[in-house]
């Protein structure tokens, strides 16, 4: 028995990623999109028409990462106009910064709007309460993965906690189903001030595929200030880790 366990240990070796901030994902990963204009608009129009979440505008050409599910179909329709890079660091502090315009070279993370108390109070430890309100389970699994043996975000003092009373902030996933709207509100209000609100995943940011569904109720987001927006379907663990790290950093 003890030999069996020793064998498992040896087979697995070191699993943690030593530097979480310098990882480059596989070429296939669809992250930050690069946009370029062309005279001929027909490709872009086809892409905008087929996009399942209406994330693309044609005049001028923009792509809203807060709506995008990174399905990649628009890049197939309009390869000259839209190209997805494997840049996974997509976090933004303002909703409008998620809208990518022609020529934007990289995601925008505007430090100037980050509240100074975040680094002051949560710079060393940040415990979060996750609430899934219509999330499809993939994003919840990715958030769970941030604490696993590979990413081990806990080494920087960030983790998830069961009780909102113990939490410093809330991570919202899912388009906010009507049937969860009240529980979400109660949970958020049970967290003591000061607190952070992180909106994780394109479904949570814009409603995604369910933006117009009569079964969702997005009034929660009209009421409260959001500190961090994390696109993706689901958000990659490293996108979450990088965004939260920047949010807590003291460098302005």
């Amino acid at each position: 028995m003890i030999f069996g366990k020793a064998k498992i240990l040896r087979s697995h070796g070191w699993q943690y990623i030593p530097d979480l901030y310098s990882v480059t994902l596989t070429e296939e990963f669809r992250g930050f999109p690069l946009l370029s204009d062309t005279e001929d608009k027909s490709d872009i129009e086809r892409a905008a028409a087929i996009c399942p979440t209406k994330a693309i505008t044609t005049e001028p050409l923009t792509l809203d990462m807060g709506r995008c599910l990174f399905c990649g179909e628009c890049a197939k329709c309009a390869p000259r106009n839209i190209r997805f890079t494997n840049e996974h660091r997509l976090a933004a502090t303002r909703r409008e910064d998620l809208v990518v315009k022609v020529g934007d070279p990289a995601p925008k993370f505007d430090m100037s709007v980050v509240r100074p108390e975040i680094s002051k109070y949560f710079g060393r430890a940040l415990q979060l309460r996750e609430v899934s309100a219509g999330g499809d389970a993939s994003i919840e699994m990715e958030l769970g993965a941030t604490g696993n043996v590979n990413f081990d975000f806990g080494r920087y003092g960030v983790g998830f906690t069961a009780s909102p009373r113990h939490a410093d902030g809330l991570v919202l996933t899912g388009p906010i189903s009507q049937n969860m709207a009240e529980a979400l509100d109660i949970c958020y209000n049970s967290i003591a001030e000061p607190k952070v609100l992180i909106v994780c995943g394109s479904e949570a940011i814009s409603g995604g595929l369910y933006a117009d569904s009569p079964a969702v109720d997005r009034s929660f987001l009209d009421k409260y200030h959001v500190d961090l927006w994390l696109p993706g379907a689901p958000t990659h663990p490293l996108c979450f880790i990088e965004g939260v790290t920047k949010l807590r950093s003291t460098k302005k």
């Binding site: 498992i8 009569p214 689901p234």
Partner: protein
Amino acid sequence: MKLYHITNNTAAAVAIADIPVVDYVELYNDLKERMKDGNYHVAHYFATEISEGLKFYIILLNDANGEVLISSFVPDYYAEGLASLTALHPQFHPFEREIHELYGVPFDSHPWLKPLRFSHDRRNKNSSMDTYPFYTIEGDELHEVNVGPIHAGIIEPGAFRFICSGEQVLHLEIALGYQHRGVEGEMLRENNSLRRVVISESVAGDTAVGHATAYAELIEKLGDKRVDEDLYLERMIGLELERMAMHIADTGALATDIGFQLYQVACEALRTVTINTTQAWCGNRFGKSLIRPFGTNHPLTAAKCELIRKNVADVRRRYAELRRDMLEDPTLLARFEQCGLVPHVEMQRIGGVGQAARASALCRDIRKSHPSGYYATKLSHEPITKQDGDVMSRLMMRLDEVWQSADYILRTLESYQPKGELSAPDYFAPLHADSLSFSLVEGWRGEICHVALTDDKGQIAKYKIKDPSLHNWLGLAIAVRSEGISDFPINNKSFNLSYCGHDL
């Protein structure tokens, strides 16, 4: 009179005109007897609005010979109500409850006619999540434990109410619906096949490949285009990779709940390798974007085949070490054996499917009974079953199925020469008019069933989705009866059912 149209899971869509419209009483009498035969179970049963009121469709599966039986009826239900089938065969309960919730159809002598998921378009707007009619038992020695909707971990919401005597659970009732997003309605909002397949991927994000395959197969049955054999092969690899990843995740979750950190972290690492393989193939760790109707944007190349082969072989080797050690560990066995029993007869009565059913010696596996695609032509699948129906059996299912899935992938890739290109997806293919199309796919949790009805112009007019969780949630409630309440977590993990797949 003919009661059913008989077809199978590889045939083209059925013309609605070919489906007999029968008298409900006759159908009821037939089902009363027929469903006593364990080879039959109900795959779907729903109502749809037509000008004369409601038309009901029922789809039965015969596991013994691969037949799919479809029937329909247009009852005068307001006048007399419908005799409930649930009273005889509990496996009908979610379907009758859904029909009742949406349209107010009365079902006579239904023992448990409670709201199913509090759909936004439910008939009775006065019923809400807060007024769910929980079952109660009176008694001085009893207490209730309420859990949820928000749970301790990073998981989806659902409300569990336990009635306990001391530490012992007498009864558990599970109230769901918190995750209801209106999926079936959104499938119809736009006539955009890309949007529909992406919605399918989000029905249950941990089963993205399974549900997207169900959508793709359903649409392909409605079109005339031939689908490349290689596409079926590549879909099989996607499905089996998903099964491996989730079974490994569940193995780790079970280890977590008994405080076994070594197994937990080993499984986390192995799952990472598996889903990163899927990511290296299609760009998404959950296989979103991999499956598309009539084609694919991510055909396998020789290099990708090699990568999959290498990683799957590595995962299989390391998982086998884990498996060997787990089966020898007395503390693990002491927690899992004889805990959370669901006997074969109970599983059968509630219509259980997938690996949870197979753990109770109920051999339900679409890959065997109603295979389609690669499973129908090239791979003769032999399902794994276990006898005891306890947490250990459900763990053993995972331990063995990971091995089996890895084996299918490795064997297939050994001889596969990828062309490196396959036809691109087609989102605009014309569909047969006035037809009913269904698909059955064995996802990692079990039987996924999608059904669509088209109108006279070949547009999709109705779309119904069934995740295997719809059948199996009742299994969890039965498993924890008379167990200590502290054993609930391991029982829950041993089923690992989908909330969003149930709530839609």
